[in-house]
């Protein structure tokens, strides 16, 4: 395993140009008047702050605990361009702690603010008393720093080192951030004893990527029984890799984006193998199979699924009592967990926080707690139920090849019969049996079947949100309009509306419908059907009436249902458009015009397709004697689009908005 992986890395490096040791010219701790002038740099002039240099270096050394530590050194120089950039003068450094004596420590911390005053550089050092510490959770301590003497034009230098006993925590590196960066560099020096998988993403090319090897010696010490230190020195090859990016722009979040984390330029590392001299290589996390086995046995995940949870017995009898068939039993169990438990932490972790028995007793837990309990309950009843690990869209993509487990943050349940399978999520009280939230459709996921983690895909293209509206309107001879609207929103829109009704009541919902119309429309008999059938979309209907005596009547056949604004606001797009689901919206309008009025003008019919039928817009209007019928349909079968397709996507919706604002014109006949 190890060899084949190294091979991949070497291969990748071959084709790259290795420039001769180009170094960053920043001299940390020394600031000269010329450093304040960035006019020669290619900086986005609109930026509030500019990262002049951000340099990280990770290396390994022996520690006093008989093992290796990672030493992460960071040097950062930022210039505050204007008042909005003052936020860049406050920092947080998170440090991980675990039980036992393992921890991360901050050392060699030095920070200063430099101001150019009357041509000379004035330095103000940060005092150690100004570094505050907040214990944020059991495992995380955060050092908080507010730099002194910061104003527009200040330069800030910060240098620190983090010593970490956690080998799995090889620092990742974001080349791209909130502020543009002129020089962003990362170097890792990894002794031959450790193998890390490197995961890279982003759209900015490396300015430098170089590799080299050298020898390194490491002193490992540990305390003996009488309090002295024993020591062992080892010498081995150190693999050094250095990456540099120059002039990296800041990235901005636009609509229809899963998360910017999927798109920023960054490097991440995963420890895959440890092979100390004279001992067998130990694979730390090399295959999905290993992880599968670990998860199966983990007390925070699968272990509780494979024991006989007899404590469930009594409750289960009540829950499934009287079920007619196995499908109903499944549904009862699902509804029991969904309706009686509160999800306290929605998309934080794929690991449980408590034993299933405690979760059952407390009636609450995180998403893993609830859906593993659901899996255990289904298994207890003899169903084939499996936990599925995934990452929600806003949490970012998972890696298909490497089992990078902290990319996962969510668990759902799969239940199978010989002919069918359903995916269940009991953590959301508004979800129906067999439905998943749109956030779960994020591509690659893994299902734990016994000890195997099998790949499974939840593609947003496979979800289709279908919306259907029909309107019947009759106009009487005086010009008064009476009509009926029937509206079936898509599943996810229904879910949102159910949430509104649940939180704020039906009145709020009715208020929303009424507020879509001008006050001279009378909206009556609003009905919401299928509110409790969580598997199905809602069915809404209402009556409408408008007293009118005008000679000319203008009416939009989409009433209030048309697309009023183009959802693609920006003129340009720098990374892909990611819509949550495919959709198909159909509007049907029927109107009967009295003999006293003539149909003076109708909008024209059109048909537009997007990219050979991947999307489309059809607007068809016909007149049959005194009947007007209009059908408008907008659909998209695809959900992800490249930046190159953005303009045509935007134009398409522009066309829809324009067409859907057109009006029918009716005129009172002169005399009859």
């Amino acid at each position: 395993m190890k060899r084949s992986f190294l091979f991949i890395v070497l291969q990748l490096c071959f084709g790259l140009i290795v420039s001769a040791q180009e170094k960053c010219v920043v001299d940390f701790g020394k600031v000269y008047p010329k450093d304040f002038d960035l006019s020669k740099e290619k900086v986005d002039t609109a930026a509030n702050a500019v990262v002049i240099a951000d340099i990280g270096r990770s290396s390994f050394d022996g520690n006093l605990k008989g093992a290796f530590s990672i030493i992460f050194k960071r040097q950062l120089r930022i210039k505050i361009q204007n008042k909005n950039g003052l936020d860049a003068a406050s920092f947080e450094i998170p440090l991980y702690q675990s039980e036992g004596n393992k921890q991360e420590e901050l050392g060699n911390f030095k920070a200063s603010t430099y101001n150019l005053e009357n041509g000379s550089v004035i330095e103000t050092k940060l005092e150690n008393s100004q570094v505050f510490e907040e214990k944020r959770s059991k495992n995380w301590v955060v050092k908080k720093i507010a730099m002194p003497a910061v104003k527009e034009g200040s330069i800030i230098d910060i240098v620190y080192t983090v010593y970490s006993d956690f080998l799995f925590n090889l620092h990742s590196w974001e080349f791209q951030g909130k502020y543009p960066k002129l020089w962003s560099e990362y170097e890792v020096n990894i002794p031959e004893y450790f193998t890390y998988i490197t995961l890279a993403q982003g759209y900015t090319p490396y300015h430098i990527k170089e590799e080299s090897r050298q020898l390194g010696s490491f002193n490992i010490m540990w305390q003996d029984v009488i309090g002295g230190y024993d020591r062992q020195s080892v010498t081995g090859t150190v693999n050094r890799t250095r990456w540099v990016m120059k002039n990296v722009p800041a990235l901005k979040k636009e609509a229809f984006t899963t998360t910017l984390d999927n798109h920023v330029s960054k490097l991440e590392f995963q420890l895959s193998e440890i092979s100390y001299p004279n001992s067998m290589p130990k694979s730390v996390m090399s295959t999905w199979n290993n992880v599968g086995e670990e998860l199966r046995n983990s007390e925070y995940f699968g272990a509780q699924l494979h024991i006989n949870n007899t404590w469930l017995g009594d409750e289960m009898k009540t829950i499934v009592a009287g079920s007619k068939n196995s499908l109903e039993r499944m549904k009862r169990i699902y509804a029991f967990v969904r309706d009686n438990f509160t999800c306290t932490f929605h998309s934080g972790s794929y690991l449980t926080t408590n034993s299933l028995r405690t979760v059952f007793k407390n009636r609450s837990g995180n998403v893993a707690d609830l859906n593993l309990l659901l899996t255990a309950m289904l298994s207890y009843e003899g169903f084939n139920a499996y936990p599925v690990l995934l990452s929600t869209r806003s949490h970012g993509y998972t890696n298909k090849i490497y089992p990078v487990m902290d990319k996962f943050n969510y668990v759902v349940t799969c239940v199978k019969t010989s002919s069918d399978q359903w995916f269940l999520d009991a953590s959301n009280p508004l979800l129906g049996f067999g439905k998943l939230d749109e956030e779960c459709y994020n591509g690659h996921a893994r299902m734990l079947v016994r000890k195997n983690l099998l790949p499974i895909y939840f593609e947003s293209d496979s979800v289709r949100e279908e919306k259907f509206t029909t309107v019947f309107i009759e106009m009487d001879e005086t010009g008064t309009l009476n009509g009926h609207v029937n509206f079936t929103p898509g599943y996810y829109e229904s879910m949102t509306l159910r949430g509104v009704v649940k939180k704020k009541g039906k009145e709020e919902f009715e208020k929303r419908i009424r507020s879509n119309y001008d006050s001279d429309w009378h909206i009556d008999s609003i009905g919401i059907d299928l509110l409790d059938s969580l598997e199905a979309p809602l069915d809404l209907h209402y009556e409408l009436a408008l007293n009118n005596s005008a000679d000319i009547v203008y009416i939009n056949p989409l009433l209030t249902g048309g697309l009023k604004n183009n959802p693609f606001i920006s003129t340009e797009r720098y990374y892909p458009v990611e819509m949550p689901y495919a959709f198909d919206e159909l509007h049907v309008f029927n109107m009967e015009v009295p003999r006293t009025y003539e149909i003076n003008e109708l909008p024209g019919s059109v048909k537009v397709t997007f990219n050979g039928g991947q999307g489309g817009f059809e607007y068809q209007i016909t007149q049959d004697d005194n009947l007007i019928q209009m059908k408008a349909r907008v659909y998209f079968k695809r959900t992800n689009f490249q930046p190159e397709e953005y303009q045509s996507l935007r134009d398409f919706f522009s066309h829809v908005v324009k067409k859907e604002s057109e009006q029918i014109v009716l005129k009172k006949k002169k005399s009859l």
Binding site: A46, K151, F341, K511, D518, S519, Y554, N565, P603, V657
Partner: protein
């Protein structure tokens, strides 16, 4: 951008309980209490006992019956603590609908976490929280909490009706004091006078409330504390971290605040030199203040560190001068010191920022912010010292019109910061538009915004990069689709600050062209989006805070060859809430539109509410009325 410092949270908590005999069966709730309620407070007993001037203890026992999901919020208990108070002890029991005990809380189930506010870099607030997460409605939770605090500067208030749609079956509140100490109270909205007794040589004051029906909040209603029975309480003599004070009058309270801040105005020599360099050759005091204010703005920023007494005592001026940061107290004191060095007397002042709910006739710690007041020969200038961008003397919506306590050696004086009136809060827009044959419309707008109407823009242009400003402009207008062609802003930093805007848009398909007709809304940029909902039986007064005036003139050029088919009628709507006027005139291929809107602030009777709704409905509709043009032949 301005920020407040955090109020030390009043901690509620004392001892001895009669406890759990309570029968919480829902059968014992009257139908009147069920009406409109999501939660019923079944029982509440709070005892606030002052042990001595340095220490107090709160005991609280409370039970809520949760009727449905909307009431779940009340089922969770959250108790704060910090360096000046002990960790609260919490007991909890869950009962079912019949009042039968289901389970009790285990200590290990209580969450303990940091409660540091996002606004603060660091403070010492922590919280304990617990929840049964029951979903079998109705159910009842009962909590008992006890907590000691090592200060007596704050007394809890009694607000038995905590929120809307909560009814109260029984609530009592007692203050227990040693014989030699005093406290003060103000009972509002029918809370009544307390029953006074003496127990073990201690004074006991008790209030009770029984069978209070749930209230539903109404839009534009007065502050909550004006609607429900409540008792404000405050100490006479008090202490906090070794500082002693008295709150009998605003003057006394001011003396205490003065003691905390006095002698903290020493400046480093180089800052003193700078003050003289800036101001010695200037004659006009007003100008001196403006220069020093600008110096302070350029050389400091807002960073809030609230630890212990630091929540009340400003960091000294030297600290701010060297660190170049501070919170509202520290920055106001720093500005005070700069002015002092220049020989200009000023006055440190506390104020209630943001929310203007204030009880002026009840001296107590009701403030959440500090500012500076500079009395000048002709008038008085107020300075907001946490902003790096505000015009000198402009206080804005944040503190304008709010109560403020001036702090002098002689004590405190309660005054009002000047507020902003209709003619201050002005928005004037001139718009020129050209429609092409397909309906695309080029829009060129020149806007002028003043006082409170310029605040959003002020923050946008001062605290956001150009790309963020553009982003906001891209979604600001209610137009189907538009691109921003160009934009620029110019700020005039005067007492009534002004922002001049120049924006060019390309509104794609703004006019709808179908066959022989052209439809266009002449009000392109200033459509009102308010649509309050009518109420059948309004209970409370209608309160309008802000007054302002908007004026729009629009000139639209459309393609040749059209004649008007339908033109909106001119509107003149005058109500007690304000005036609205609009008119459309068509000359050849030009459409001229005029609109003005004046909104008055004030308090109106509940009966006037539907008239108010109607006023806004008429505006909403008038703002969206269309001109229809038809091809001439």
């Amino acid at each position: 951008m301005k920020r407040t410092f955090q109020l030390l949270l009043c901690l509620c908590v004392s001892a001895i309980c009669k406890a759990g005999n309570g029968d919480y069966s829902i059968a014992k709730i009257t139908p009147a209490l069920m009406k409109e309620a999501n939660v019923i407070k079944r029982y509440e007993e709070i005892k606030f006992e002052v042990l001595n001037v340095n220490k107090a203890r709160t005991y609280k026992k409370v039970a809520y019956t949760i009727l449905n999901e909307k009431g779940d919020e009340s089922a969770e208990i959250v108790e704060m603590y910090d360096k000046l108070s002990n960790q609260p002890s919490i007991e909890a029991t869950l009962y079912d609908a019949m009042g039968v005990k289901v389970k009790s809380l285990k200590r290990s189930d209580i969450k303990d976490m940091s409660a540091t506010d996002d606004n603060n870099l660091i403070d010492d607030n922590r919280l304990k929280a617990f929840n049964f997460y029951c979903k079998n409605y109705p159910y009842t939770v009962e909590y008992e909490v006890e907590q000691d605090q090592y200060y007596t500067m704050f007394f809890p208030g009694w607000i038995p009706v905590e929120k809307e749609m909560m009814s109260v079956q029984y609530s009592s509140f007692s203050v227990i004091l040693p014989a030699d100490l005093h406290f003060r109270y103000k009972a509002s909205n029918g809370a009544g006078e307390p029953v006074k007794t003496t127990v073990d040589n201690k004074q006991v004051f008790t209030w009770k409330l029984q069978d209070f029906n749930a209230i539903k909040r109404e839009p534009y209603a007065p502050y909550w504390l004006e609607l429900v029975p409540c008792v404000y309480m405050a100490p006479s003599e008090f202490a906090i971290q070794g500082y002693q004070g008295n709150m009998n009058s605003w003057q006394d309270f001011g003396k205490f605040v003065y003691a905390l801040k006095k002698d903290r105005d020493a400046l480093p020599a180089e800052v003193k030199a700078k003050v003289h360099e800036l101001t010695d050759n200037i004659a006009d005091t007003h100008k001196k203040v403006a220069l020093l204010y600008d110096f302070m703005q350029k050389n400091t920023r807002y960073i809030s560190v609230q630890l212990g007494i630091g929540g009340w005592q400003p960091f000294d001026a030297t600290y701010v001068a060297t660190k170049r940061y501070g919170d509202c107290k520290a920055l106001s004191n720093y500005m005070f010191s700069l002015l002092k060095e220049a020989g200009i007397p000023s006055c440190y002042a506390l104020v209630k920022a943001k929310n203007n709910s204030f009880v002026a006739d009840f001296p107590s710690s009701q403030f959440n912010h500090a500012i500076l007041c500079v009395p000048l020969a002709k008038d008085t200038m107020w300075l907001e010292c946490t902003s790096q961008t505000e015009a000198p003397g402009y206080m804005g919506d944040f503190t304008g019109g709010h109560y403020s306590l001036l702090i002098n050696e002689a004590g405190g004086t309660l005054v009002k910061v000047p507020g902003y009136k209709m003619n201050d809060n002005l928005q004037v827009r001139k718009t020129f538009a050209t429609v092409d044959a397909t309906g695309n419309t080029e829009v060129h707008e020149n806007g002028q915004y003043k006082a409170i109407q310029q605040e959003d823009l002020h923050n946008l242009i001062n605290y956001n990069a150009k790309d963020k400003q553009l982003e906001r402009l891209k979604s600001q207008f209610d137009l189907p689709q538009y691109d921003v062609v160009s934009f620029s802003y110019k700020e005039e930093k005067s007492r009534i600050p002004v922002i001049n805007e120049d924006v060019q848009l390309n509104a794609i398909g703004y006019a709808s062209v179908t066959g022989k007709r052209l439809f266009i809304m002449p009000n392109i940029l200033s459509k009102s989006s308010s649509k309050p909902t009518a109420a059948d039986a309004r209970k409370y007064d209608l309160v309008l805070d802000l007054e302002y005036k908007d004026v729009d003139t629009v000139e639209i050029k459309i393609p040749d060859g059209y004649i008007p088919e339908s033109v909106p009628q001119p509107q003149q709507i005058a109500t007690k809430f304000g005036k609205y006027t609009s008119s459309v005139k068509i000359e050849g291929n030009k459409i001229y539109y005029y609109r003005s809107m004046e909104r008055i602030s004030g308090r109106f009777t509940a009966a006037a509410y539907n008239e108010f709704v109607q006023f806004y409905e008429q505006i909403y509709k008038a703002d969206r009325s269309k001109v229809v043009m038809v091809k001439a032949n």
